[in-house]
Structure formats: C-alpha cells, structure tokens
C-alpha cells in the first residue's frame, strides 16, 4: 500500500496549451480521493499522468516514496478502470482478468486463485467463460474492476467509470465501489464530473477548474465552507444562489437594500464595498420578516416530490429556494426568507475567493 504525492505537476500540450497548471496534492495511503470538475478542467489528464498514459511536462508524481515520472505504466503498480471498460473483446472474462498477471509471469495456479477470488467478491463467477459482449453494462463494469483487483496494485485509478451506466445501476455500482474500496483498503483516485458521485465516494474531495485545484477537503468541509465562488456553485444541487451585495459593517451585509447578518465574515472590510453573498437553496427558510431577512418574488414552482423548488428573484437576481413539500404554500407570490447568519457565504467579486474569517 502506498499514498500518492503530486508536486507542482504540469501538463503542457503542443501549441502551449496548459491543461494542468502546477497541481500539488497529497493522497493518504488507503484513502479514497475524488477529482471533480467540469469537462476540460484537467482532472482526466491528471489521472492519466498518474497512470503513466500521459507524459509529465513538469513537477513530480510519487507513488509511495518512488518518483514515477519516467516509469512505464505497467511498472507503476497501479490499476485503472476506464470509462468504456476497455475490456479485450476477444478474450473471455477469465482471460481479461488474467491477462495482466500472465504478462507478469505470475504462476498459473496463483492466477487462477486470484481471478476466482476477485470473481467471488464481485459476484461474476457464473460469467467467467463468457465474452464481454455477452454481458450487460453493469457486469462489464464489474469485470473491469475485477481486472484491477487481481493485480493487487498500490493504487486504483478510476476514470469516470460509471458514466456509461443508466441512472439506477450507477447508484448501485457507486455503493459497491465504495464498499469494495473500504474492504480492500487500497488508495483510490477517482475522476468524475458528477458531484453526487464525488460527494458520496470521497474521503478527500478535490475540486478542479481550469487546470488548477480550487479546493481540497472532506466532502463536508467543501460543502460547508467553499473556498471560492466556483466551488460554491459547483458542489451542491441545486447550486448555491449568488447575490450582489454591499458591506454594511462588521457582520452585516445588504442585498438590494435589505440587511442580513453574517457570522463568517472577514474583519476590516470597508463599508460600502461590493461583495457577493452566497446562500444555498436548502439553507434558507420562509419565515417572518426580522433583523436578517430577504423578500423574494416567486415566478414558478418545481415539484420534486419530497421537496419543492421555488424559482424567483431577490433584488432582481435569480434565486432558488428548496423547501419540504407543504412547508410553503405553492401559490405564494412573494416569500419572506429568514436567513440564518451561519449559512451565509461571502465572496470577493474580483478574486472570487471566500471572505470568511481567517
């Protein structure tokens, strides 16, 4: 077992396109690290550099204590699960899993033992003699994972492994991946653009954008205390509302003339300066007007069953409120929202960084 350390890793493609701009990250041995971000943010490139499928333009990738920049993928002691599974179509399930071991000259009986064990863990024993095309998507996914498990690698790499599955199967496989990773205790790096997958799977969540890391932390930390406006709007569904506001004084900001209190606010912000106020749709309550409240004009309501989404405007800016069904009358035209000061996030309009307490 080994952790993975990235030290200012860069990837520059021909034509000076910088896909990864100096990423440093420490992934603890045995932990589940998820890289999440919109497409083109460099997360897949970063993963492929760890795998050895892309050359590293700058910096160092360490697996355990060994710098692997120049090491062949096969010798890095990693296993990878691809988005389209990349199973060998002409080989049986058994041979698919055994291939990597065969190439390493593992003895036959050892191969058989490991493949049988992996098949048992993944419940694909009945399919060992079949070809991949005779399997369903979920079964292929399991075979791809089996191929990774039999190698007993130091690190598992997952490149959006669930995006080819239908929604129901995706949830089921997500749970299985998590359970499997817990059971095996192998350091895992998982790339996805799906923030639900990212939140549910990770011990360590890495949000990326534009080839850089925006924030690293546990899912709860990232959700509770987003460090940039990008993270705030990317993590959480529906996304956080961002309202333009003004600093009134310590612990007080105003939005369109209505003042609200804030707990987590940096000291020394000049009164009157512009600021961005972030409020999660699930964090605002309809209530009576008070010392910290906003009024909202409702345009329409989306029904989600257990909850309702109220779409409308606060001080001329789009705003969404999520409430349990029945909590707010669905025909309300205006809402008074009481704001809990601990749930307000402040961001600098220029740098987009959080303006919280240091």
């Amino acid at each position: 077992m080994a952790g993975v350390t990235l030290d200012t890793v860069r990837k520059v493609y021909t034509g000076n396109v910088e896909a990864v701009k100096g990423v440093s990250l420490g992934i603890k041995d045995g932990s589940f690290c998820v890289l999440v971000g919109p497409s083109g943010c460099g997360k897949s490139t970063l993963l492929r550099m760890i795998a050895g499928l892309e050359t590293i333009s700058g910096g160092a990738v360490k697996i355990g204590d060994r710098v692997v920049n120049e090491v062949e993928p096969a010798d890095r002691d990693i296993a990878m699960v691809f988005q389209n599974y990349a199973l060998y179509p002409h080989m049986s399930v058994y041979d698919n899993m055994a291939y990597g071991l065969k190439n390493r000259g593992t003895p036959k009986d050892e191969i058989e033992k490991r493949v049988k064990e992996a098949a048992r863990i993944l419940a694909i024993e009945p399919f060992l003699a079949r070809k991949p095309r005779q399997l369903s998507g979920g079964q292929r996914q399991r075979v791809a994972m089996g191929r990774a498990i039999v190698r007993k690698p130091q690190v598992f790499l997952f490149d959006e492994p669930l995006s080819n599955l239908d929604a129901k199967l995706r949830v089921q496989m997500r749970v299985e991946i998590k359970r499997l990773q817990r059971a095996l205790g192998v350091t895992s790096i998982y790339v996805t653009h799906d923030q639900v997958e990212a939140m549910t799977l990770s011990d360590q969540l890495v949000v990326m954008s534009g080839g850089q890391i925006e924030q690293v932390g546990t899912p709860a930390e990232v959700y509770r205390r987003p460090e940039t406006r990008f993270v705030a709007t990317f993590i959480g569904s529906p996304p956080m509302n961002i309202l333009p506001g003004k600093v009134e004084g310590p612990g007080r900001v105003s939005v369109g003339g209505q003042t609200i209190s804030v707990t987590d606010m940096r000291d020394g912000l000049a009164p009157g300066s512009a600021i961005e106020v972030g409020l999660r749709p699930e964090d605002v309550q309809a209530g009576a007007a008070g010392s910290s409240s906003l009024t909202m004009d409702v345009d329409f309501v989306e029904e989600l069953g257990a909850t309702q989404l109220f779409h409308g405007k606060v001080a001329g800016t789009e705003f969404v409120v999520q409430a349990s069904t029945g909590q707010i009358p669905a025909d309300s035209r205006t809402l008074t929202l009481s704001i809990d000061p601990t749930n307000v996030h402040l961001f600098d309009p220029q740098t987009t960084k959080r303006l919280g307490r240091a």
């Binding site: 096969a74 389209n84 179509p89 002409h90 095309r133 191929r147």
Partner: protein
C-alpha cells in the same frame, strides 16, 4: 424493406433467375465441354447434357496436359498458381497489417508522409510500373522463380488502408489497458490486434487470393520455363495455337480446374469474409 406479395415475389424471382442464367450458363457450358471428346465440341452441335469423357479429360489434363503446345501437366500449373496466390495473399496481409500497425500506433517522424506515399501507390497498378519492376526482378536474377512471381505483387496499399481504417476504430483505451497490463507493442499486436482483425484478415485473404490466382500479365512476363507456368497462362496458351486444332475439351477442363480453388476459398471463408466487410461489432 421486406415486402411479401405474390406478384412482386414472382417478379423478383424472375429477375434473379434471368441474372443467374446469364452468369451461370457460360460456366455450365465450360463444365459441359470438359465432358466431351474433341470431335463433339468441334462439330458445333454440342449437346446440353454431359458426355462420357469426363474422367479421361480430367486425368489427361491434370497429369499430361494438352498434346501439342506446352505439354505441361495442368496439375503442375495449378501448384504454381496456388503457390503464387498463397504467397501474394499471405505476403500482402503480413506487409499491410505491419505497416498499418506502424502508421496507426507509432509516432515517428514523417508518419503522415509515409502513409500518404503508401496511399499514392494505389494509383499505380502493376501494369503501370511493369517495366521498372521487370528490370529489377531480372537484375536480381529472380526470373522463373516463385520469389519473382510473388514479391513484386505483395506491397499493398489497399490492404494497408483497410487495416488502418480498422485499427482506427479500436478504442485507444484498449491500448492503454494493455500498457497497464504490462503488454508491450508487440504483445499488444499479437494478443489484441490480430485476434480482433481476424475477420478483416479473412476478407483480405479472399480478395487477394483471387487477385493472385487471376494474375496474367506479370507471370506471362517473367516466366519462360513451362514448368513455372501458372494455370491462367496455361489456358491462354492452349487456345492460341495457330497451326493445329485447339483441344477445346482440354482447354475447358483446364478452365474448370482453374475455377475450383478460388471457389473453394470463397466457400470456406465466406462467413468470415462477409463479417469482415460489414464488421460493426466491437
């Protein structure tokens, strides 16, 4: 669209039958002619039912050949043709699969140029480059050899193109998975590419075997000994004698014999061949 109406069915069958008759009748005539003696064919009134000379004609053709001209047993010619056709088919497949492998999977300077040069040779069939090719083969002392028959014909742009197109449809992840599984370039080629290309190989084999078998101009040029003759040239020589009567029964028997190997190849490889041409499954 599949329609099922009696009238249309009848029309479809009629058109197909006419087509088959047009294509098959000359073949039937050739087979028929191989069962008569020379006199029956020569008098111009050949019956439309087989005669009784089949065994005589075939044994004589295979083991002795026509009496006057070449006196070469057709059995030997068939062997020559077979060696040439096999050599061309196998050689073409080997060369084109390797060059396609290089062009698709390796990054070397002038890779694109290499591909385009190969591509351009599509425009140069054997006939166009026949003189320089003859000169080279002659200078190498390869006249009247199997090597001389096969070698100049095995470079194949068509094959390279076909394999290249197929390789490009193989997802990159398969190569990457192989890399992680510890397979080098050659292992990937042997363990993954070749098994996946089987149907393409079969299709190419059928096409190239028939192409090789039907070669006329090239063998005509470089073979002078009658022992090196191919069957296609053999037929031609049998019917161009001017000072004697053509032994039509022997010529026709030879023609029928010449048809057999390509037909066998098609019959046995047909399933793979069709799959190779319409391959969609990955």
């Amino acid at each position: 669209m599949v329609e099922n109406r009696p009238y249309r069915n009848f029309l479809a069958y009629l058109v197909l039958t006419i087509g088959i008759v047009i294509v098959a009748f000359p073949v039937y005539l050739a087979i028929l002619a191989s069962t008569f003696d020379a006199g029956t064919i020569a008098n111009g009134n050949m019956p439309l039912l087989p005669g009784d000379q089949a065994v005589t004609n075939y044994t004589r053709t295979i083991f002795e050949g026509a009496s006057r001209t070449s006196r070469e047993p057709v059995g030997g010619m068939m062997l020559n043709s077979f060696i040439m056709a096999m050599g061309i088919a196998v050689g073409k497949i080997l060369i084109s699969i390797l060059s396609a492998f290089a062009v698709v999977y390796f990054n070397f300077p002038f890779r694109k140029t290499a591909f385009w040069v190969i591509f351009i040779t599509l425009m140069l069939p054997v006939e166009v480059r026949i003189y320089p090719t003859y000169k080279i083969v002659a200078d190498l002392g390869l006249l009247d050899t199997y090597t001389g028959l096969v070698l100049p014909l095995i470079a194949s742009a068509t094959g390279t193109l076909l394999f290249r197109q197929f390789f490009m449809t193989i997802p990159d992840e398969l190569l990457e998975a192989s890399k992680i599984d510890g397979a080098g370039a050659f292992r990937f080629f042997k363990d993954t590419l070749i098994p996946l290309s089987i149907t393409t190989i079969a299709a190419l084999f059928v096409i190239q075997f028939i192409y090789g078998w039907n070669q006329y101009l090239w063998p005509l040029l470089i073979t002078t000994k009658s022992s090196m003759q191919t069957i296609v040239i053999g037929i031609k020589k049998m019917i161009t004698t001017q000072d004697a009567l053509t032994e039509w029964q022997i010529a026709m028997t030879t023609a029928v014999l010449a048809m057999i190997p390509p037909v066998l190849v098609v019959i046995f490889m047909q399933r793979l061949f069709v799959k190779g041409l319409v391959e969609t499954e990955k």
